[in-house]
């Protein structure tokens, strides 16, 4: 079946059940198709992509009736590969196939204008046929794939993706921006729906990551740039300056408490409810357990600033040491050697990338109606820290306004009487389902409010607990059972979102709510109010997405290729996503996605090579004048001018680098470049057909 053979086109029109046939008169389109030049076979069928549907095409090819195929059906974005495969199976070059999108872009969009939809479907088919007449056979290309994988983000999602890949024998580089892996889960007390202790299930996994021979753990690091594409990404990772010699640091913790008060800043791990020093280890179970210096907070005691100078005491001549270095038993905190504030750059070559950078919880400060500046109005994440045994009050339930008192007393070794809170009130959907902030539902807060309420109520049965919900969302395995248990415990669940919180005398808060079931405004006098603030993408996610060349959706989370069919893929081949970076979700879902992403990466890389569509550009040396216009235009640097045998410079495209964008093709003044699959003639044939449509139709 050579190229010179006259085209004999088969047109196959799909009903897609009622999806197409409900708006488009399929028979009329078929009749019309028969009149088109070079069309020799026209058939319509209920479901073209079904086995019998594909068989129709295959049979016609095998019978030698046709040598070009046009399927008028849904979108090539999902179904082109299926039909190409069918052509190939029947022995036809699979690039002799063209698809006419008469469902997504016709019947569905013009459902109520049946006549016009039918006319438009004809136009679309005519354009596809016009292109099909000019199709050329192409050969697939193969590229070699690197087998290493980069995982960005060391939360539960990143951890699981790394472990699955590493266990399957793939080398993993896990890049985490903070000093320790663990992510948000490390901050949680217990976890729904089983209430097992977060640290107990997370810590062993963190240790496994640290010890795994196939995992190269790069914490306190960030991705700086990416080049290349699927199978061959070149990644630059910046290891930020820790200002502590990690080879020496044993994580003994001796340095943690010696920073002077001026260098103490709110502790991120405790969500600002306690202070940490400038030199710190994020949390006791950190992996790796190493100290870093937060240079924004450090006051450089004794002028010790890593400048390489060694100040000495004027009298004794002894070196002046900062408190941190003085107590450090290993010399890890030594401030004498110069340290580059830019850290160092590590270069990696990987075949695939998994992005699992998670989320952050929304700040409470913008919610003015809820008195956010009051210390006893806290976010749910702060509540996690408040009830956690590793939290600022060591798991003892106190009003957040009493924490400074408690910490002060602990430092002095004194006992203090602190009044127990009697009432705790939760408020749902703060910043979620809210057109002012995020319109989406954060998906986990209903459950974690129930969780925190349950934990508190079980531990302190005297507590009065109220939860204001718009509606309780518990769609998951064992979730609604969990909700019912809360009701049985006597936690008061109010259907209605609270409208405001006001401080009232006696260091209490008045929550103004509404009970939609009894149709009355209600008020609760409470000691602590907990705001279930939205889960939102980290501010830096957009930038990272841009670096990686993947998309973010309108809400700011990473966008999957297809919600249902490719939920962990992105539009960029070889880059996968998992966990809350893709959208709010709980731990079970984050883990499931992580494992799916790992499996997808494995199935991509395992064969070691992959086919790529030959839809790339090629220079016709005869036509090229060597003007050089195309060279700087290529975003992938695929074009260069080379000296030909006749001594003239002419353009050449490196097929391994070309991605087929067509920018060069469009720009070449001599029309010397052909973009296979979208040639000048092919696209123009389509355009002309559509432009002339009213005539053709008449």
């Amino acid at each position: 079946m050579s190229n010179d053979e006259k085209p004999r086109i088969g047109v196959y029109i799909c009903h897609c059940g009622e999806n197409i046939a409900g708006a488009v008169d399929v028979k009329a389109v078929a009749e019309f198709a028969k009149t088109l030049p070079d069309v020799v076979v026209v058939r319509d069928y209920l479901f073209m992509c079904s086995d019998p549907g594909q068989e129709l095409i295959k049979q016609d090819i095998r019978d030698g009736l046709i040598n070009r195929v046009v399927v008028a059906a849904c979108t090539p974005r999902t179904h082109e590969p299926i039909f190409r495969k069918a052509c190939e199976d029947a022995g036809l070059n699979k690039y002799f196939f063209e698809m006419a999108n008469i469902r997504d872009q016709c019947s569905w969009a013009h459902w109520h204008e049946k006549e016009k939809a039918t006319e438009k479907a004809k136009a679309i088919v005519a354009a596809a046929v016009a292109k099909a007449r000019l199709l050329e056979p192409l050969e697939d290309r193969y590229i070699e794939l690197k087998k290493d994988v980069l995982v960005i983000g060391g939360g539960i999602a990143g951890i699981f993706a790394s472990l699955d890949l590493a266990n399957a024998g793939f080398k993993v580089h896990l890049v985490e921006k903070s000093p320790s892996i663990g992510g948000n889960m490390a901050k949680l007390d217990k976890t729904f729906p089983t209430n097992d202790c977060s640290a107990c299930i997370l810590t062993p996994l963190m240790v496994e990551v640290a010890n795994h021979p196939n995992i190269n753990l790069l914490t306190y690091s960030e991705v700086e740039s990416i080049e290349g594409s699927v199978g061959n990404f070149k990644v630059k990772v910046r290891k930020k300056q820790t200002y502590v010699d990690w080879d020496k640091c044993t994580g003994c913790g001796a340095c943690l408490d010696v920073c002077p008060p001026k260098a103490r800043v709110p502790d991120e791990f405790n969500e600002g409810m306690s202070l940490r020093g400038a030199i710190y280890i994020p949390f006791p179970q950190a992996v790796p357990k190493k100290a870093v210096v937060d240079m924004d907070a450090c006051i450089k005691c004794g002028g010790r600033d890593f400048s390489g100078k060694e100040p000495k005491k004027s009298k004794s001549g002894k070196p002046i040491l900062a408190p941190c270095e003085r107590v450090c038993p290993t010399g890890a905190a030594d401030r004498t050697p110069y340290r580059d504030p830019n850290g160092e750059i590590v270069e990696l070559e990987v075949g695939a990338i998994i992005v699992a950078t998670g989320y952050k919880v929304m700040d409470k400060r913008v919610f003015k109606e809820f008195s956010p500046d009051h210390p006893n109005v806290i976010t749910a994440m702060q509540m996690e820290r408040l009830i956690s045994a590793t939290g600022p009050s060591e798991g003892k339930l106190v009003k957040p306004s009493d924490i400074p008192k408690l910490l002060e007393a602990k430092k002095k070794g004194e006992k203090v009487e602190i009044e127990k809170p009697h009432t705790i009130t939760f408020i749902s959907c703060v910043g979620s389902r809210d057109n002012r902030y995020h319109t989406y539902c954060s998906r986990v807060c209903c459950m974690y409010m129930l969780k925190q309420a349950m934990i508190l109520k079980e531990k302190y049965p005297d507590l009065d607990i109220y939860i204001f919900f718009i509606d309780v969302r518990t769609p998951g395995k064992d979730f609604d059972e969990y909700y019912m248990r809360c009701r049985q415990l006597g936690i008061k669940i109010i259907k209605g979102r609270a409208g405001g919180i006001q401080p009232i005398p006696g260091d209490k808060l008045l929550v103004k709510g509404y009970d939609a079931e009894i149709c009355k405004p209600v008020e609760v006098v409470t000691d602590i109010a907990v705001l279930a603030t939205a889960i939102e993408p980290d501010a830096s996610l957009k930038e990272l997405a841009r670096t990686l060349g993947i998309n973010v959706g309108a809400e700011g989370f990473l966008k999957e290729r297809h919600t249902k069919l490719y939920p962990v893929d992105t539009m960029t081949e070889g880059i996968f996503i998992a966990g809350c970076a893709q959208g709010p979700k709980d731990i079970p879902d984050s883990v499931a996605q992580a494992k799916a992403a790992a499996a997808s990466a494995m199935s991509l890389l395992e064969p070691g090579k992959m086919t790529v569509e030959p839809l790339i550009s090629e220079v016709n040396k005869e036509k090229c004048t060597g003007c050089g216009v195309c060279v700087p235009l290529c975003p992938y640097g695929a074009i260069s001018l080379v000296k030909c045998e006749d001594g003239k410079l002419r353009s050449e495209i490196n097929p391994a680098l070309c991605k087929g964008c067509g920018v060069c093709t469009a720009a070449c003044p001599s029309k010397a470049i052909t973009l296979h699959g979208f040639t000048y003639e092919q696209v123009l044939a389509q355009i002309r057909t559509i432009a002339r449509w009213p005539e053709i139709q008449a």
């Binding site: 974005r77 991605k659 067509g662 002309r688 559509i690 432009a691 449509w693």
Partner: protein
């Protein structure tokens, strides 16, 4: 004749965004005028000015090029190229004696099905207001 005139609008859509948006508009059943017909290209940067001119010369009443939002191009920067070419294209169109409103460049992301439908509705109205392509009468 005049009252029967229906605009004929060509959309040259980038495969990674506007083409996807058109699919999404359909799958979410956002209706837009059937006068709109889409031709797929890999990138708005693939669009040669000639494509648009040819479309107009052959009678299309309006041509819209759809690309990814600046910064979101699947091929990094094809849409910037499209934008630059478009400025130039507008001038030629005017020289041809065609109202410049008949050609448009829009950034429509893959997730913006609704935007696709709305832009198409609006473009259709614009073209209806302008009437048939003046070159067609000749």
């Amino acid at each position: 004749m005049m009252e029967e005139w229906e605009p004929n609008i060509l959309v040259i859509a980038c495969n990674w965004c506007t083409y996807q948006a058109a699919d999404m508009a359909g799958s979410l059943r956002y209706c837009y005028p059937p006068s709109v017909k889409v031709v797929r290209v890999p990138c708005s940067g693939r669009v040669e000015p000639e494509f648009v001119i040819e479309a107009l010369l052959n009678g299309a009443d309006g041509v819209l090029i759809g690309g990814c939002h600046p910064g979101d191009c699947h091929y990094k920067e094809g849409n910037y190229k499209a934008l630059r070419r478009f400025e130039w294209l507008k001038k030629i169109v005017e020289e041809l004696g065609i109202e410049p409103e008949r050609v448009r460049l829009e950034w429509i992301a893959g997730s913006e099905g609704l935007k696709f439908a709305e832009v198409m509705k609006e473009f259709d109205e614009t073209i209806r207001r302008l009437g048939p392509n003046p070159l067609k009468k000749v």
